[in-house]
């Protein structure tokens, strides 16, 4: 009896695996694991990102899919915790058997996941998290970046700041005290010392992410009397900072640049300070090309609000993946990785390519000056600058130099 039972189970297992194998024909969908941090400051970015993903997937499926196969999405939440991120990632790879991964928002969970999916040889494209640590320090062939990394972003906005205020020599910085802020300000320091050899950093403020009261930071910066202030504050922190700095006359006294993107401008409303410099990663008012505007309209009809860069980048990530698979003519990871190297596509932010050396996308960085625009119920930018990724990517020699220190062999 017992033997019969074992035999039946064995037969069943064989039957199931057999059907699973025969299923891998053209009818099987290509599965994307979307993993994001639906918590804290990342919550709304992830929501927007998933909507961008959904729109891209629907468009592709309506046009017949990729290699005749439809796209399917499995979504997971990391709760912005490293341990949860790793657990959910493993679940996507092992149980859901996803072909590719897109996400997350936090540089922290992103770095933790990189080790794991690289071990399982699964490709991940990052559409929000942008620490240079992911492409440079801890390079993995199974990782591709379509957001300007911290180095590119800070290098670009430092050039913009310098162009606007060429005489500024004494600077203060203010950035959130974690991976992202630290890297942005380090890149600022590197670039400003290249542009202005006798530049001086008088003071660096490191408020914790989620700081509610910046008053003491503001008075400390003002006491130093800098020529300009470089910031990498973003989101709710930047909203709080802006409201608290305004009564001090901070924005009249010091040229200031920070991540004044769409959600911040919308949240600030009339409190958004005219004439202050902002940087961002590309949305409709930063790059109003026809493709971008069509996407913005589509997004607006579904979500009832304008899309920010998070949705744009995720949309581009899906199309990049499509181009990679089509070039490789298979969904096999190593072949797709190979196909992506050097591949260039026409995204919502214009044309960009994936640099073969470090898998960094040559995506553009945007800067501008906050101003009213009668076309929108919130403030946007004027004097917009679009710096192509090629101009601000860390030179390949520089990447190799870091690799020598971090032990990456390539």
């Amino acid at each position: 009896m017992k033997r019969l039972a074992i035999l039946t189970i064995l037969l069943l297992v064989v039957a199931v695996t057999a059907t699973a194998q025969t299923q891998s024909g053209p009818a099987v969908p290509i599965k994307i694991g979307a993993i994001c941090d639906f918590a804290g400051p990342c919550f709304m970015y992830c929501e927007a990102s998933m909507e961008g993903l959904r729109i891209a997937v629907e468009e592709i499926n309506a046009a017949g899919g990729i290699l005749g196969r439809k796209l399917e999405v499995a979504t997971r939440d990391t709760e912005m915790k490293v341990d949860v991120a790793v657990r959910e990632l493993k679940d996507l790879i092992l149980r859901e058997k996803v072909n590719f991964l897109i996400g997350p928002c936090s540089s922290g969970t992103g770095l933790a996941m990189q080790v794991v999916h690289s071990e399982y040889k699964t490709l991940r494209i990052s559409a929000i998290a942008n620490t240079e640590g992911m492409t440079v320090d801890k390079f993995s062939p199974y990782f591709v970046q379509v957001v300007p990394n911290t180095y590119m972003e800070a290098t670009a906005n430092t050039r913009y700041l310098h162009k606007k205020y060429p005489k500024a020599k004494k600077f203060c910085t203010i950035g959130p005290d974690y991976e992202f802020g630290r890297r942005e300000e380090a890149a600022f320091e590197e670039e400003i010392k290249r542009l202005v050899p006798d530049a001086e950093i008088l003071y660096q403020a490191w408020p914790k992410p989620g700081e509610k009261d910046f008053t003491s930071f503001i008075t400390a910066i003002m006491a130093k009397k800098p020529d300009a202030v470089h910031g990498s504050l973003f989101g709710g922190d930047l909203v709080a900072f802006t409201k608290q700095a305004a009564p001090y006359g901070f924005f009249e006294k010091f040229p200031f640049i920070a991540l004044y993107d769409l959600p911040v401008l919308m949240s600030l409303g009339v409190d958004a300070p005219d004439g202050v410099m902002g940087f961002g990663r590309g949305c409709f008012f930063m790059d109003p090309n026809p493709k971008m505007m069509a996407f913005a309209e589509k997004f607006k009809t579904v979500k009832g609000a304008y899309p920010d860069a998070w949705a744009v980048q995720t949309y581009d990530a899906v199309y990049l993946l499509k181009a990679g698979i089509e070039k490789a003519k298979t969904v096999e990871t190593d072949a797709v990785v190979k196909a992506l190297e050097g591949l260039s596509i026409e995204g919502l932010r214009g044309k960009f390519f994936i640099r073969p050396l470090d898998h960094m996308g040559s995506v553009p960085c945007y800067q501008g000056v906050i101003a009213k625009d009668p076309a929108y119920p919130f403030k946007v930018w004027k004097e917009i600058s679009r710096i192509p990724g090629e101009e601000v990517m860390r030179p390949e020699a520089g990447v190799r130099e870091i690799w020598q220190k971090t032990g990456v062999v390539r």
């Binding site: 919550f43 003491s216 922190d237």
Partner: protein
């Protein structure tokens, strides 16, 4: 370093301390009487901020809209506090600390998800209300007038709580209950109801402080945990359940932070917890607190 720079830094610390005091006073009051460490106090503060935004947005009354929204939001939070006390906390007074902490932490998670569901996790902002939009000059240096509003509100709350606790019959009962709950109960005073109203008052303060914090900074997910941790530092330093202690604790935390930022910004936050650790070692019950019997 010139004197005006030091003065400005001092004032920025006062402003920070004032907001902390607003929130921490409710936490301390609840703890002093109920002996329950309400982890969800910060969540009620956050919910107060989100509610005040929605009410303000809905009312669209110029000038006074914000103040009306603040009062309504505070009252709504008080009502939510009533529900929490009647259906959850009341059943937990006789249980140990771990259970109470777990239960209030459950409320934290519920409110976080409710906010995500209701407001979608966006960060929001209310412009500063009139007449507190600008700044006043203190020794030729601007100081935001809304900060004065918060400081005045904090002082008002000190006076009110002091009057309530030390100058009313209810205050006598509150102090007696904090001292010996069985004895007060034996005298025929309905302790459960006293507890309910104290918790409602604590919640009202949480809602009020959340609402007035809205024009000051950003209304965002995560503001609950952020504030509750600093409030714990305040009440631990000043003494759990002590009103003067909370006031002194807020002042110390505000100043340590303000000058920490100026001298060594990397350690600004650590300094607060170093002070807290020192207090815990020398006087585990806080500067103005009383040792547990």
């Amino acid at each position: 370093m010139s004197l005006d720079v030091l003065f400005n830094q001092f004032m920025s610390g006062i402003a920070r301390g004032a907001l902390l005091f607003l929130v921490a006073s409710g936490l301390s009051l609840t703890f002093g009487v109920l002996r329950v460490l309400n982890f969800a106090h910060g969540s009620l503060y956050m919910l107060g901020a989100f509610l005040s935004y929605s009410i303000w947005k809905h009312l669209l009354i110029p000038v006074v809209g914000f103040y009306v929204a603040t009062i309504i939001a505070a009252l709504l939070i008080a009502a939510i506090g009533l529900v929490i006390e009647l259906f959850l906390l009341r059943r937990l007074y006789s249980r140990g600390w771990p259970e109470q902490l777990l239960a209030t932490y459950a409320v934290v998670l519920i409110i976080t998800d409710a906010v995500k569901w209701g407001w979608g996790g966006e960060f929001l902002s209310i412009p500063r209300p009139k007449p507190f939009t600008g700044a006043v000059l203190l020794f030729d240096f601007p100081f935001p007038s809304y900060n004065f509003f918060i400081i005045l509100l904090g002082l008002g709350l000190v006076v009110f709580l002091w009057w309530l606790v030390y100058r009313t019959r209810l205050g006598d009962i509150i102090r007696a209950a904090a001292h010996d709950r069985e004895m007060v109960s034996a005298l025929g005073i309905p302790i459960p109801w006293l507890f309910t109203w104290i918790f409602v008052l604590g919640s009202l303060i949480a809602g009020l402080s959340g609402a007035v914090s809205a024009p000051y900074g950003a209304i965002a997910l995560g503001m609950d945990i952020d504030i509750i941790i600093e409030c714990f530092a305040v009440v631990v330093i000043g003494g759990m359940g002590s009103l003067p202690g909370t006031l002194l604790g807020s002042f110390i935390v505000g100043q340590v932070y303000a000058f920490g930022i100026m001298i060594k910004p990397e350690l600004a936050l650590a300094n607060i917890f170093i002070v807290m650790a020192v207090v815990l070692i020398i006087r585990p019950w806080g500067i103005f607190g009383k040792p547990e019997r």
